[in-house]
Assembly symmetry: C2
């Protein structure tokens, strides 16, 4: 029968890490603090993670997984490229805006070092950009989007806008909802893409 902590311990550690790291930053966060919040011993962390940095990697995986999975799902409920783009934009801002601590991790703490970012960007960020890029391709094939912009470029540009909105939201202490920006972002981006 489901022991209460079974399998959930790793998740609990990750959840604790989000809170602690969001509050004090990765480098000020000690493994001991994460352990304490998770209600486990310091050493237990190392049964689940090779080292402290791997906790960050796991947080990234978990977050990107959601983006990609939900992104793919949403695209199936939209036909036209502009509509798909709207969906992606809304999803992106909704997911980031859902949880401020998590957003701090994604927008700030995961971008620590060149070494670290290099690894991240190759992996799932590339996949995410691909998804956006393919929507652009569709839009071009359907004759809705201009064809003088390379899809790869367009994808990065769109991501750049979304990322900036997200970072700005995290840094500003206002109490707005991030996804309220989805409308304007879509209008700006679509105007830039349309024929």
């Amino acid at each position: 029968m489901a022991r209460p902590s079974e399998g959930g311990k790793k998740e609990r550690i990750l959840d604790s890490a989000v809170v602690e790291i969001a509050q004090r930053g990765y480098h000020q966060t000690t493994v001991a603090r994460i352990a304490k919040r998770a209600g486990v011993a310091d050493g237990t962390i190392y049964l689940y993670f090779k080292n402290k940095e791997e906790i960050l990697f796991s947080l990234f995986d978990r977050a990107m997984g959601r983006f990609i999975e939900e992104g793919r799902t949403r695209l199936q409920n939209a036909a036209s490229a502009p509509e798909k783009l709207r969906q992606i934009i809304e999803l992106h801002l909704t997911l980031v805006g859902e949880d401020r601590d998590q957003a701090i991790i994604i927008q700030v703490e995961l971008r620590h070092s060149l070494h670290f970012m290099g690894q991240l960007s190759r992996a799932q960020v590339g996949e995410y950009l691909d998804i956006i890029g393919q929507v652009v391709v569709q839009g071009q094939e359907d004759g809705e989007f201009r064809t003088d912009l390379a899809p790869v470029f367009a994808a990065k540009a769109i991501f750049g806008v979304l990322d900036e909105m997200a970072t700005d939201w995290v840094l500003s202490h206002r109490n707005t909802r991030l996804e309220s920006k989805a409308g304007v972002v879509a209008e700006f981006v679509l105007a830039g893409l349309k024929k």
Copy 2:
């Protein structure tokens, strides 16, 4: 009479910091290494900087200073809002693309922690965004840009695109010139803004 190192020692320390931090990241870079590269003793660093973090702040100031100063200059040589925007875009990408080590600092290492970024963004980044925003305002007043986008939003969106191009360039190890993207960026952004 001009002592040879007068005033130049602080600059030398900053230059060394750029190289070292770009190579190994801020947290892996020891004060001792920076000192060694600059050809001074460890303790000398503390005659010029309160602590290690202040070196990062100084690097940021130095970089942003260039952006803002040159930005203002360029705007005087351009009349129309679209032309001004082109100038800013080209300048931004040129300045970042000029020096890879410096770019690593700007795009990655300066974004270490929430605490750190919070301080940065209020200060000069805000000033930079203002400059862009004012060009948007002009474009709207001149009847060249649509008026349904808030200038503050537009400025962030434009910055987001530029920032993403810059980060992408830093992370990719390709040997392209960053400013070669200026044309497409301008076309995309202007299409998004124009009536």
